[in-house]
Structures are given as structure tokens and as C-alpha cells.
Symmetry: D3
């Protein structure tokens, strides 16, 4: 008798690490969330609920069953210590990059991106960042704290420099963030205007793609800590991701699902489906 | 003193059976639901909440008060035994068809459609089926079970044959379902493309119309067990139903509302309003 | 040591009464709500949750920090006595108008509008009303009650007369309301058709603007007692408000948020953001 | 074909009015509720959920199937007008008393008791009242309103006079209520001390029994608008009701269940079970 | 690099099958649940939430870290087919018993017990059953269905015969169940009266212990489909389990947790803690 | 016109700082919470919901209206930085102690206690601590973090030394915590055994009293992150607090309410009532 039913992965991601082209892992951390915490539960919820979706994508006519993807489970991150958490994320990410994998991190609050970008920029000094979000995340500090989810793109900017960050969907931030942003990053407000010129602008340079799910309109994604009305639809997001898939993406993340705020489960289901589509878009043999 | 306040019907559906052109009834069954059960509560919730809507439709400028519709209450179905439940549904449907009524069944999970189609196809051997859904429901079996909500259109196909089933809004299924479907049914993926040619294709042949409410985008209908992002809007659905109303519809159903997942009540309210619109669209003196 | 942290206002509305151009106040009353009560909690919830949004509007490139707005807190209204509640609202509104302020009332159920309109029409006998809503609210009485949220625009009509009320977004009501409405008010069904001709029609005459948030589609605003499918999007609403801001608006209100129905908080967050946009649109030095 | 499945009564209460010894009816009114409304949904929720309990009581070894009880449905009460609502309740109660029935009213907020007591005291001028509650409900007015749920026993006292009201379980009220109460009513604080002497004190005089369910500790009954810690257990309550059943109870009510606050359904289920036990305790051939 | 973080077991149950004395497994089945389904999610929820409790029991001064327990994950059971589901359960249970393990099954609805008892009684023909529950579960059929959760002890009785089933905590059932029960099983109503004489009555005969968690009062365990007021407390239950642990228990189960009804998580947390205590009570080297 | 309705304090705590004997303030911090965060919302929720309780205590026959208590609002604490947060708490606490006030802090997670104890022990080097809790909180570190809610009493021990900490109600912890605890602190497991000897043991020495609300059984207090079955009742807790009120308590806190987990509001209401009782017990002219 040989049971193995307590292996718990995202649906269709049951390959061995060594055979896999993509690895996914969870970064359940939300200690700096200033408003409503709970994104720490996102990766576990997505694994649980992924069994409510199919492995096959009618849109792409591709199937996770034809891929080799490893689900590395969740990192055990220290609540209350952003620096330690970021360090653990960076190590995980670095290992995956060094092994030639495409790492996909599931947040967690948006700060987790910083750990991954730290690893990516060390390997790819010319790293560009494509950033989908409702919020600019460009503050220099938040209540004196430099390592806050509200500052994450500012911290990333310190690593990659001017003109390397491309933001889309941004519709919230304080005045100072927008002022600063105008000089240092490229921001497309409200939607995806200009997304089709990305390939032309970035070419084959290495790209980190960070997707804050609150870029979606709260009508289709209410399960997030700071819902911002006036966002994009699921179909608009999918089409934008198709554009990003044309770039040389070396690592990516999906963050800010907060399952406790998702009573109906529709946000978690959307996140699962989106992750499937992303894995299929970015999967290369 | 003569109180009759414990009669409990959908708003505006208080006529006697014998006088009515339309009858509605509930089929509260969800035993084969593979993921999140709860559609068994749909018909009772819709009756309760129907008193939050009006009997008058501004869109159609018609009023339930001018119709004769009988609400037959809920069937008492045996949980755990799909075959028995389907049999009871078939009897109810057969009686209504034999009495010259237009039966409208409120599910329950989508499997209940099979019971109604069995009755309809016996009376109308040339039955066609118009199917709005997010899911193809074309599996041959589900974990070995042939009578599962995931297989319901496959079972219906066995009754009506090739080329008689027209699917719209489909955006989920496994690869095999889509492959099989290409040969045996007509499927419009994602939306209602082609809906305007239905009349031309089907003419005056008898039609069973089955509406799985998860064809709607979860943004406007989150109260369902398997929400699928990327669906249609309420207004798109209404316009598609207008097209179906041009056909010779002999029976129909509305299914897969799951009230426990609808904390705000917006999905139940939508289902009530939609049922009102449907009754008014399909009502003929 | 001088703490003042228990002052509780909407974000960015911390000016003194005497210095302010706009005053906001809550009217937490829902006693006549016929279906699901709970709007009494709206103003308190909006104050609490306003700290989850920014003071800066990327759309308008304006900031509440540059305004002088006074938050007068909530009126203490008597539940169970609509007449007393309306009287208290009228007094508050009258004082604000007499002091040259622009009062913005946060409901509560829609009946509260009547108290404010009573004050406004006394000061501005030629008052016009712009009314965004899913429901016509034109009944003469509701179960014998004249002071009901379902009758509020009918009561307002008695104060301002024919041709002064302009309704938008209406998609629910009984047949009689629509019949009556055709003779006495201007109604744009379903959306904002004709909104751009308002300025031409009303000119510089004084306008009361009443915004029932259920004009929004339940997909983006499910936290309300009678959600009506088929409504407008957030962006459509913002653009319509831009048109209203061109009028000579002397007072306004925002009503019918019901926080208990808003498990995810997305409706409350939208209401907060909308109030910020409204304050910035209607703020004049 | 003869369906009657849309008759909707509390389980086991399906007799005709004329044959019944007990009649139950709902009084869905909560307009004066000062804090969290929602008790208007209690009677409908109890009917729906009553099908989750049995008709048989293991405690009493009695069965509703052996009784004749009529469920008169819900009164249609005018929200926003306590006086009208109380009048309708009084009429219903008067008819039942005149027809020799034992009326059991299901609230609604506690104010509904006043309507029933008005009818009862007209028929039985020597009426006594037994009152189980967490709150004294003895205010003279509440924000100027005399007809408020917080004043209901004070209003009842005006009808029955000193020494006729016996309160149990009281653990909340303002200082003035307790002062006033000491002179005019008998109050047993916190629990049921003295309940066994009731028979001796009241003898066979006519008794109205009003049961505010918040007398229960919130641990077993959280589904109520103003939960008060430190209450009695279900078993303590049942034993106290057994004592009341020894009195000459001519009418009674059960009130203050608020289903929206009862996510798990445990409070509604308790209320259903309690109503079954009460009907069986007070049923006399 | 060697990650194994996607192994998903109950806390402290990470041993290999072959080394373990106890095995636990989930039986996520609820298709015959007549009222509110959802127990299918219990075992997954308990694994997830088990990381919120400790492995150490202060009451017993024992630690799961000192045990060898295997978590076999969840069986994949066919919804809609009780007979197939019971067969799969019986096989799992039989294997565990044949391998000399103590199997602990986590339901699921109570019907799952029948599968386990079928296996146990084949190995131990003299099997006795100790049954903690709020409900007698002694119906002969439920709406014509013999394999229903409401009939499970009746079906078990057919396997073990008269005088072998000992019920405790029973406080609900129809009259016929109690009548039948008096002749064929031993029932202690409401609580645990007589529990201390069990050892004397049963001696060292093999015992199957089935624990329906709704034996607990809904105050401490509201997360179950049919909450019954008047139940036992957590401490009373623990002390009763201590008595059962003195018997020769060869297999056991814990069932009827319904996580969807447990908004606060307190019921799931209790179930986790109880399972820990049970594993420690019944663990023998 | 002079409105001040946007002052937001706990009910009955409206005095000026300088006149007050007691000050209350919120410490909304939960960044180190290892399991389910959300206690950051406790103090705001308690202020909001305090208007659902009375200022008068029937148990003590005392009224907050006769006291002078200042509500200092909430500290603005930096999420993600325990050290900064603790520093701000210490400053607030130190000022209050220096001004001769009795500070009552409302958490937040239990770690906030450390900030307050740091201030108290500086002023009262002989400080004793009375600690009510379900959890021992005696770990040396938690995932490497020393400043974690799971370590708070261990950190406090480092400040006050052996034999100064008296724990009650403890029923959870790892084995090592209990071993260590036996040597360094006095622990009463499960309940309040020995509470009556506290006065004798501690005499008039200065005492810090920290009350983790999860000492209560989850039946009466489910709104907390780590509910532990087997706790004390509300009445038992009140009686234990009466004993603590006989000591020379110089500062205290109440923590670990998590409003998001309290759907019914019963836990928040209990916390409000408890705070009222505590303020009245510890209030000295």
C-alpha cells in the first residue's frame, strides 16, 4: 500500500524540481501591510482552491499536463522582520535562477517582490521591471519604515535605476509619488495604454514582471486589502499579460490576494486561473 | 378571519396551476457537485428574496401582474441518489408538458437539467438544446460517475444526438471535452458570438433552454460554486436571452446559484431579476 | 502632553467649521428601509475606512490637503420616527446653507434626502434636482407610509414641481411610477444618456444633487440593500459626476451604502474614493 | 396533479386556523432598533430553518405531529411607523384571543410586544407579565421616542401597573432604569433566581410571557443585535420556561433573533428548537 | 537544493506509513447530507489549521513529537454515489487494520462511519460501537434512501446486532428512532451519564468509536450542519473520551465539522485540538 | 453653531487628560502575529461598538458617568517594525505613569504588553505581573524572532525576574515553555485556581495586569486569532478580575480581540463590556 495523497501542490504542478522549467513557491508574508493584513494566506488558499479549476486553457489551447512545473511549497518567513523575510526570499529566488529555472513567486504583500528583485538584479544587472498595480508604491518611506509594501517600487528603483521600471494600471498614490515617478519611472495611469510598445522599448533585455492583483477592478477581484475602483477587467489583464509574455521575462510574481476578504471565493478562483494562464504563457520548453 | 400569508411563492407567480401558462418549480439537488455544494438552497432563497424586486420590467415594459404563472414550490429530492432525483424531476416536467405548460425549473446543480430533458425529448423527439454556461459539461464520466453535473451535456447529447446542442459562453473544460465537443456540438467560446444565427439554424424546432448562471462573469455573479473569470455581463446575457426567446422554447431551466456564497445577496437578487425577465420574455398568452 | 487622536473625521476633512467651504455630515437613518436595513452604518464605516485611501486624486490631480473641509460627524437621529429625523436633517442643512457652505450629507437610506431638500428649497425656491439611482423612488406611498425611502423623489417633487427633477440610471420601479414619472420628471433609463445636455437645460439655476449609490452595477457596488443588476460602472459614474459639477450645485448627498453587506470592504472603499472625488470636483475656493 | 408545496409554515404547524389551539405568526418589524437592525428577518428565517429540526422533543417525549397549530405567516408591517405596526399586531392578537387561541408571536424587535400586550390587557385587565431579557427595557423614552424597543416594558407597565411585571435575567440598563424598576417591577438580575416562586405569587391570574432571546448568553445565541455577556444557558432557559408553563399563560412572544448576525445558523436553529419546546410546553388540548 | 514543503499533513503526523502505529485519513464526502452540506471540506481545513495549535498537550503532558503517526491524506471519493464512497473507505480501513494500525478517519458526514465499520466488523465480528452524537441516526431510511447520514447507526446495527451500540449525548431524533432505539441500543440522552460503566460492560472486546462533533453544544462548536442546543462542553467531552480510551478501541472516526459554517475558525481549531488529544489518548507504543 | 460630533471615544470616556485618573489608548499592532492577524482593528472596533453598551454596571452598581477617564485614541504604530512600535508604546505609557494616571492599553497583539512593561518596570523596579491567557507565551524565540507575541512573557521575565509573574488560564504552549515556566514563573493551568491567594503573595507591591482575551473559552469569545477550547467563562473571568482589583495595579492592558473574526459582534461587545467593568473596578478617586 503506497499512499501519497498528502502531497499538496498547485494543480498540474507535480513535477520534480530537477526536471522543471518553472518553479512556483509561496511567500506568505504581510507584516508591513498598513491597512488590512491577510495576504499571507494567499498561496495556501490558491493551492487548495486550484482543484476547482482545470489544467487546460481554452484560450491558449495548452494544458499544464504537458508542462513540467515544480511547486516548492511555502517559504517559512518570520513575521515581524521584513529584513529576514526578504533574505529568505532572495535565497530561494537566487537558487532557482542559478539552476536555470523561471521562478514564479506567489505573495504575500507586495514587499516580497523586493527579495526576488534583489536576486534577479544580481544575476541580471540590466534588469527591467514591468509592474501592474493600482498603487504606485513609490513612497520613500511609510511612517518611517523603508521596507514597506507602500515603498517597494522605490526600493526596486534603487536597484535598477531610472527608466527601467514600467508601471501600468496605476490609479492611487500620494501626490509626491506621482511627482517623483514622472522623473524616474514610466507610468501608464488607469490602464494598459502603451503596453504594445513595451517590446520595442525593452527588446530582449531581462525583465522582472510583478503583478499586484489589485490592478484588477474590485468588481472582479474584491479579495485584496486595498481595493481601488476604476481598474481593469480580467480580459484586459490577460491581453496585457500576453504582451509581457513577448519579453524576456526571467522571473515574476503574483501578489496581494487576501483570501479572508473573499467570502465567495471568486477572487481566489480568478487568481488560480490567472496563475494557470501565466504559467502557460511563460512556459518555454 | 382568513389568513393566507403562509403561501410562499416567487413574487407575482400566484396563479392556480390550471390557469397558468408557465409553471416554475425548484429542483434543490446538489449531491454530485464536485467542488462547493449549496445550490440546493437556490430556489428557496430566490422565493424569499424575490420580494426585494418589482414585478414590472422597465426593459420590456411588461408586468408579472398581467401574467398567469404558477409556482409549484420545491420538489423533495433524495440527496445521495441522482437516479431517484432525476426520476422525480422527469415526472414533474412530463406532467407540465403534457398539460401544455411551459415549465421553468430552478436548480440546483446542473445535473437536474438531465431529468427535464429526458421528459422533453420524449414529447419532442427532435429536441434541440441551447446551453449557456462557463463550463462545457461534456465529460463522459467524473471519477467514474456518469450522472454528474460535469457530464450533463454529454448525457443530454446521448438523448438528442449530434448537431442539436448549441453552447455559448464556454470558457472552461478539460482538453478532451473540447476535442469531443468539436465533433458533436456547436460551441461558441467565451461569449455569444453567433447567437443571432440561431433562429436561422433551428427554425421552429422545439428547444430546451438551459441557463447555467456561471456563464455570467463572477464580477456580477459571484454566488456560484465554480466561478470562472472572463464571463459575460448581465446586459449581454439579457440580450442573448432575447434571441433565444425568438425560438420555439418548450421548456427551460436556470441553475447553479449558490446562496451561501453570496454574502451581499447581489447574486440572488440578480437571479430573481433574471427569472422575472425570462418569464416575461417567454410568456405567451 | 497633548494628544488629539480621538478626533475622528473623514480623511483630509479636518478643518474648522468656520474656515470651511464644504461641510460633510452623516445622517445614519434607515428606519423606513423596506427590505434590508443597515445604511445607518455607512457614514461611520466611511470615516473608518477612509484611511485606506489617499487624499490625492490622480484623475483630477488635486488633493484634499489643499482644501478646507469640515466633517461635522453624525447627526443623532431618532430611529422609528421619520418626521423627527427629517427635521433634524433639515436644521443641519439649513444652518450650513445659511453659513454659505456646500453641505454634503452621507446617508443613510434615501429618505434622508427629503430633509436636505426641504432646507434647500426654502433657500432656493427655484431648486432643481439631479438624481442618480437604480430606483425611480416615485411611489405616492409605501404600505400606506408617505415618508418612505421608496417615495422620496415623489415627496421632493411636491416641493419643487414638474420638470425640475432629472433622473439617471433608473432601472427599477413599479409600472405606476414610470407612468407618473413620464408626466412629471425627466427620466433617463439604465444609464446617463442625455447627461451632457443638463447644463443647457438647467443653466445656472440652483441644483440639489442626490446620488443613490445603487445606481452603480452590483458588480462594483454590492454593499447596498437592493442591488439592481444592469447598472453603470465606476468610470461611467465619475464621468457623469463631472457633468453635474458644471452645474450650480448648492447641496448634495451620497446615500445607500450598507456596510454589513460589504464583506470584502470593496463597496465601502469605493464610496470613500467617490466621496473624495466628489469633494474635489465640487470644491470651489 | 395537485401540488401544494409552496405552503410555507414552521415545521409541524400545518393545521387549519379553526382547528388549532395555538396560532403562531411573525411580526417582522425593527424600525426602532437603535443599534443593529435585522430582527425583521427572524420569522422567515425560522420557518426556513425549522426543517432542520425534528417535530419530536426527546426532553418532553411529545411531538408537534400530535398537536394542532396554525402558522398564520407574517404580518405585513409598515417600516418607519411604530404606531401603525403596533396597531396591526394588536388586531391580529385580539382576533386570536377572541377566538380562544393561544397566540405566539415571533418578533421582530421587542417593541412588538406592546401591540400584543395591548390586546391581551383589554381582554384580561388583570394581566401579569413574565419577562425574560438581558435588558431592563424600562426607559421612559429613547432619544425622545416613547415607542422604542428600549422602552417597551415601561409602556407595558403603563398598561398593567405596579407589581405585575416579573423580570428575569436582566443584566443591562442605565442607572435610572434600575432605580425606577426597584419601585415598580420585580427584577431578578443575571439569572432565574426566584422563578420557582412565580406560581405562588401569580396563581392562576392571566399571564403574558415575553421572551427576549438575548437573555441567553451570547455563547449559545450570538445572533442578536445587542449581545450581553454573562447570560443564561439553553438548559437554564428551558428549565425556567418549564416553570412559566405552570402559569395561566394567555399569550406569549419570542423576539430579537437577528439572522444576519448568525453566520453559522446556530442561533436560528436554537430559536427553532426553543419554539418547538415552547409550543409543546404550552399546548393544551 | 531539496525542498519538501509541499508535503501537507496534520501537524506532528509526518511519520512513514510502515513505522506508524496510528494512521489518519480524510473521507471528504457529504452527498447524503439532507440539510446543509460542507463537511467534505473538514479534513483539508483541519490540516491547514492544525498549524495554529501546538503538538504538546498540557492536559496529558504528552507530545505528538514523541509519536509515530502517518497522515494518509484524503481519499478521493465519488460525490453522488454513497455505495462507491463507502467501498473506498472500507478498503482503506481494511488495509490499515490488516497492517495492525489504529485507523482514525476524519469525516465527512456521518455516513462515512459505515464504510469503516464494515471493515472493522469483518476483522472483529464481536465489534462494539461507542457513539457520541446529538442525533440518534437510527432511521431505517431517509426519503427512501437507506444509505443516508441519518440512518448510519441503524445500518451499523444491522452489522453488529442488539446491545452492541452505546450512544451518548443524544438529544434529537424522531419519535420512532427513540422507540426503536430503546429495544436495540443503549442510549444516554443529553450527556454522558453512565460513561464510567462502559469498561465494565464492554470489557476488552473490540470497540469502534465514532464521534459526531455535534455532540458538543453549538456554543463551543457552531461549525456543523445541524447544530443542536443543549449539548456537552469541551471539557465534558474530553473527560468522556478519557473513559473511552480505557476500552480496546480498534478504530475510530471524528466527523461532521463543516468549515464553511465556521466563520471565526473556532470550531476548526477545536476539532484540531481534539484530534491531537485523541491521538495522544489512543496512542500506544 | 458648535458641532463636536466627530470626537470619537469609548463610551463614557470623554474627560480631559489632565482631569482623568485613568487613561485608555489603543496600540493597533499585529505584525508579529504568526497565525491570523487582525488585532490591529480591536481598539477602533471597540470604540465604535461601545455605543451598543451602557455606561452603568448592574454588577458593581457604578457608572462611567461618575468617573473621569480620558481616551487618548490610537497610537500610530509602524507595521513591520516591532522595535519602533514598542518604543512608541513605552513613551505613551511612561508619560501616563509619570503624570500619575492608571494607563489601560488596548491591544493589538500581545507583544504590545512588552512596551508597557518596559515603562512600568522603570518606574516600579519591583514590578509583578499578573497574566491571564490561554497561551504561556514563554518561548525564547519564534522562528528566530525574539520580539514575537509568542515570546512576550519571556521578554517580560527578563525585566522582572523569577517569581514575579503569575499566570492563569494557561492551556497551550510547547513542552519547553511549560518546563521552563515551572522554574521561573507561577502558572495556574486551565483556570483561576489559586487566584484568591494572590493578595497574600504579592501584598501591596506594584502590579502590571495583562489580560489576553483568549483566556476566555471560544464559546463566549471566538473573535481572536488563536482560539483555544477549554477556557473560562465570562463570569469566571469577572470574578478573577475582582481579585486582581484588590492588588496595587499600576497599569494594565486588554489584548488580542480580532474583530474580523467576530462576524456576529458578540466578542467585540464582550470586550467593550469587560473594559467598562475593568475601568469601574480599577477606578479610584
Amino acid at each position: 500500500m503506497n499512499h501519497n495523497m498528502n502531497i499538496h501542490t498547485f494543480i498540474g504542478c507535480e513535477s520534480e524540481y530537477k526536471d522543471s522549467r518553472i518553479i512556483i513557491f509561496g511567500a506568505p508574508f504581510d507584516s508591513t501591510t498598513s491597512y488590512r493584513p491577510g495576504t499571507r494566506f494567499a498561496s495556501a488558499a490558491m493551492r487548495n482552491e486550484s482543484f476547482g479549476i482545470e489544467t487546460y486553457s481554452p484560450r491558449q489551447d495548452k494544458d499544464l499536463l504537458d508542462t513540467k512545473i515544480y511547486d516548492g511549497g511555502d517559504l517559512e518567513l518570520c513575521f515581524g522582520s521584513p529584513e529576514l523575510a526578504l533574505y529568505d526570499i532572495e535565497c530561494m529566488e537566487r537558487d532557482a535562477l542559478d539552476d536555470g529555472k523561471l521562478p514564479i513567486m506567489i505573495g504575500g504583500e507586495h514587499l516580497v517582490t523586493l527579495g526576488a528583485v534583489r536576486a534577479a538584479v544580481k544575476k541580471y544587472p540590466d534588469l527591467h521591471i514591468v509592474h501592474f498595480d493600482a498603487h504606485a508604491d513609490l513612497r520613500d518611506d511609510y511612517l518611517g519604515q523603508k521596507l514597506s509594501h507602500a515603498c517597494v517600487m522605490r526600493r526596486c528603483h534603487e536597484l535598477v535605476g531610472d527608466g527601467k521600471i514600467f508601471q501600468f494600471g496605476i490609479r492611487s498614490g500620494d501626490r509626491e509619488e506621482f511627482r517623483w515617478g514622472r522623473k524616474h519611472v514610466e507610468t501608464s495611469k488607469f490602464g494598459f495604454e502603451g503596453i504594445k510598445t513595451l517590446k520595442e522599448k525593452i527588446g530582449d533585455k531581462p525583465v522582472y514582471f510583478t503583478l499586484d492583483l489589485d490592478v484588477l477592478d474590485p468588481s472582479c477581484f474584491c479579495g485584496t486589502g486595498t481595493p481601488e475602483a476604476g481598474g481593469v477587467s480580467y480580459n484586459q489583464l490577460i491581453m496585457a499579460i500576453e504582451e509581457v509574455a513577448k519579453l524576456n521575462v526571467v522571473a515574476l510574481d503574483v501578489n496581494e490576494l487576501s483570501p479572508m476578504l473573499d467570502q465567495s471565493g471568486a477572487s481566489t478562483a480568478l487568481a488560480c486561473k490567472l496563475l494557470r494562464e501565466i504559467m502557460l504563457y511563460f512556459y518555454k520548453e
